[in-house]
């Protein structure tokens, strides 16, 4: 085009032609006088100046700038409405060396995405957000935005924004400034050349903050929307300067860049061969899925007591021992609110056959570590089942004559054996004596996995022995 002299070159990080557009590939989809064109250019120039084009990943939002990827010759990810900060978070954490820019409008950022931006800023994510505030929903045709000004008309505030009905315009920079996470927050304006020069500096600074690794940066840009505001472009620009700047004061609302140190990069990952070890696994490429031949049993056990009595651990101990004995096993805790209320119980199955359901509704073994548990579960025990109860005097009043019942002050017995905290081991010892199906070696090997300190293992061994001495066959009364 020889009739023109070149004043400004197109930034390198813009595509020459917008091939991702289906038509009019040499012009943008933005309206004449729209602020997005200016913001795009300021961002592109900053990327060029900083020499970071290859490293930039631009997250485009939902709104008029949904097609930012038409123009920017950088890595592009398009996000759902309001979710750009969440997407940017994970992109940055995957590639800490990348420069991640999240580009959002007012509806996207301050309404539907309010939670995402708040938490992204609060985590101090090392990303840069460009927040284009034009006080209106542009793409959907002019509905009220969270930043719509008092009295401003929109298609959903036809009489103007009424504070009694719609609340107040949201001041995002001030809001985010109450958080400790952000490193740099500034509001600038596209209301005139001077303001645009300041905006240019702010965008550059925000990117540098990210490059220095000191945390979250956001630049809010007060921006004209001539089409929806129904103003000529020049008047729209003046409206930004004359009206918006009054409601949204310009300036830096937060700058902690001096006080922040670079966030360290994550350490190098361990070698692949180390992963199984880190997961506590020994890979076993030879073994099949079947347990070895074990004793012929089908124990459906319910363990119940107070939280802190070792109920869940006793259940796991049984399951681990069963596994070592070559049985099919399962363990299922009672989970949820009831586990906060102080009582605790679990379901354990040890079986020679494949286990259909780990839920034990009709146990043939009940280990009741306190009286409420006995009351709750005694009636569920299958006729012929075994009940071992930590307490005394229950056999007199319990109405079951069809179960084998052993009651002892097991807590006191555990205490005498070395520690009341080995109550569960004492009761396991008693169960082992009632039914010899579980080999002692399996109980021992299971304990070695569950109990790390040799001192406690020794106490547990004493407790197991103490439990076993409590059982004499003729004493297994019918309650």
């Amino acid at each position: 085009m020889p009739d023109y002299s070149l004043l400004h070159e197109q930034p390198e990080c813009f595509y020459e032609e917008f091939e991702r557009k289906s038509e009019w590939q040499r012009q943008t989809h933005y309206c004449p006088g729209c602020g997005h064109g200016i913001v795009h250019k300021l961002l592109a120039e900053a990327i060029d100046e900083l020499g970071i084009r290859d490293r930039v990943i631009l997250i485009s939002p939902v709104g008029c700038s949904v097609f930012a990827y038409y123009y920017f010759d950088v890595g592009n990810v398009q996000a759902a409405h309001g979710r750009a900060p969440a997407v940017a978070t994970a992109v940055k954490r995957a590639h800490p060396e990348a420069i991640v820019v999240s580009y959002q409008g007012d509806g996207d950022l301050a309404a539907i995405g309010a939670a995402e931006i708040l938490h992204c800023a609060n985590r101090g994510e090392n990303i840069t957000t460009l927040f284009v505030n034009n006080a209106i929903y542009g793409m959907t045709g002019g509905q009220m935005a969270p930043t719509t000004m008092i009295g401003q008309k929109s298609t959903t505030t036809p009489g103007g924004r009424d504070v009694h009905h719609d609340g107040y315009p949201m001041k995002v920079c001030e809001l985010l400034s109450t958080l400790e996470g952000p490193a740099y927050l500034e509001r600038v304006s596209l209301g005139g050349i001077k303001q645009i020069m300041k905006a240019r500096k702010a965008i550059r600074k925000a990117l540098e903050v990210q490059m220095n690794g000191v945390g979250f940066s956001l630049v809010e840009l007060l921006s004209p929307c001539p089409t929806v505001w129904k103003l000529e472009p020049v008047n729209a620009r003046d409206y930004v300067a004359d009206e918006m700047e009054k409601v949204f004061p310009l300036g830096v609302t937060c700058d902690r860049t001096g006080a922040r140190v670079r966030c360290p990069l994550p350490p190098d990952p361990p070698p692949l061969e180390a992963i199984p070890g880190i997961l506590g696994l020994e890979l076993d490429e030879t073994a099949g899925g079947k347990p070895s031949e074990g004793p012929r049993i089908d124990w459906r056990i319910r363990v119940a007591g107070f939280g802190g009595q070792g109920v869940q651990l006793l259940g796991q101990w049984l399951a681990e021992a069963g596994m070592d004995a070559g049985l099919h096993v399962s363990w299922l805790p009672s989970y949820g609110p009831e586990m906060r209320s102080g009582t605790s119980n679990c379901h354990v199955r040890l079986s020679s056959e494949e286990i259909d359901s780990p839920v034990v509704t009709k146990p043939n073994v009940l280990l009741a570590l306190n009286e409420p548990s006995l009351e709750k579960f005694l009636d569920t025990v299958e006729p012929g089942g075994v009940v071992i109860y930590n307490g005394v005097g229950a056999s007199g009043k319990a109405p079951r004559s069809d179960v084998r019942f052993l009651e002892r002050p097991f807590t006191a017995i555990a205490d005498a054996a070395g520690s009341a905290r080995t109550l569960n081991a004492v009761m396991l010892g008693a169960l082992r004596e009632v039914s010899r199906a579980l080999p002692e070696e399996a109980i021992e090997s299971a304990m070695r996995r569950l109990v790390k300190r040799e001192q406690w293992r020794e106490l547990n061994r004493k407790a197991l022995a103490a439990g076993r001495t409590q059982v004499r066959e003729e004493e297994l009364t019918h309650a």
């Binding site: 979710r83 992109v91 954490r93 995402e116 880190i278 020994e282 596994m323 286990i355």
Partner: protein
Amino acid sequence: MRQLLKGNEAIVKGALLAGCRAFYGYPITPANEIAEAAAYYFPRCGGTFLQAESEVAAINMVYGAASAGVLTMTASSGPGISLMSEGISYLAGAELPCVIADITRGGPGLGNIAPEQSDYWQVVKNGGHGSYRSLVLAPSSVQEMADLTRLAFALAARYRNPVFVMADGVIGQMMEPVRFGEPAAVPPRPQWAVDGTAETRKNLVSSIFLQPDELEAHIGKLGAKYAEASRRETRLESYRTEDAEVVLTGYGIVRRILRHVVDELRGQGIAAGLLRPITLFPFPTEEFERLARRVPLFVAVEMSTGQMVEDVRLAVSGRAEVKFYGRCGGNLPDAAGIVEFVKTRLGAMEASHA
């Protein structure tokens, strides 16, 4: 070596062995142990763990990590999956691989935290908008939680699509012995990902196709993927079906109960069999069709008021009777009840044919 593990933990270990290196989640019972184990193990394995501010944010973080070429996952339960539906639609639309574990609980609304299978519709039929599908694997043991999680990542990468591991709260919460056989692996970085490098600068991750023809072509491409997955990835377990006069079907914890029921019925002289879908999408339609040419009665058992049974009816397509037996609210169907139900139905059929 067999190790006693919770179903929820087995998922995390299976995921890390499969090369998953980014976990984003939000607490919910009965899936919490997944996020807790991930918080412990992911950083140690060189991965990322982050607790998001909501399930909405979590699934969009998954979207971000997947865009960046990292094998990634999240985990939740029914109410959280409802919130994630939007993001799952975007993931499918943008053809991003990820794994979502759904440890199902009771609904609707807050429901309760006890096990149900009432997420079938929203997971298998899609809670989100648009013509997409998620691949869905349904483990019925802790061993399968590990194995199918590993498979889920392979399928996610192969089809560039969200893959669910859907298990009820019982499977998530219970402990069982598990074996891990395969060594740890990390798949090569996908070429389409956006890495913030010169090589990947031209890459774009997006689900928007403004022109109707473009979008139609894109949807067609997704459809072709799902058709291929249906041909190649359908998995099922068949137990004593070959001479069966009644075929029971169910997945997850129910499958285990049904195996016991089949043996019990066989013991009573009734030729029962079990057809258990391992993949809920793709659904083993062909096997149901094949059996329906010969088997007069199918009984679907679910912990819901009947969701998968609709797919059974579609597959059987009027060739046989399909009856439903369900419990919900956190109750498990009991074997004796199912046995009685089957015998009653068979009796009624014989009476009507007599």
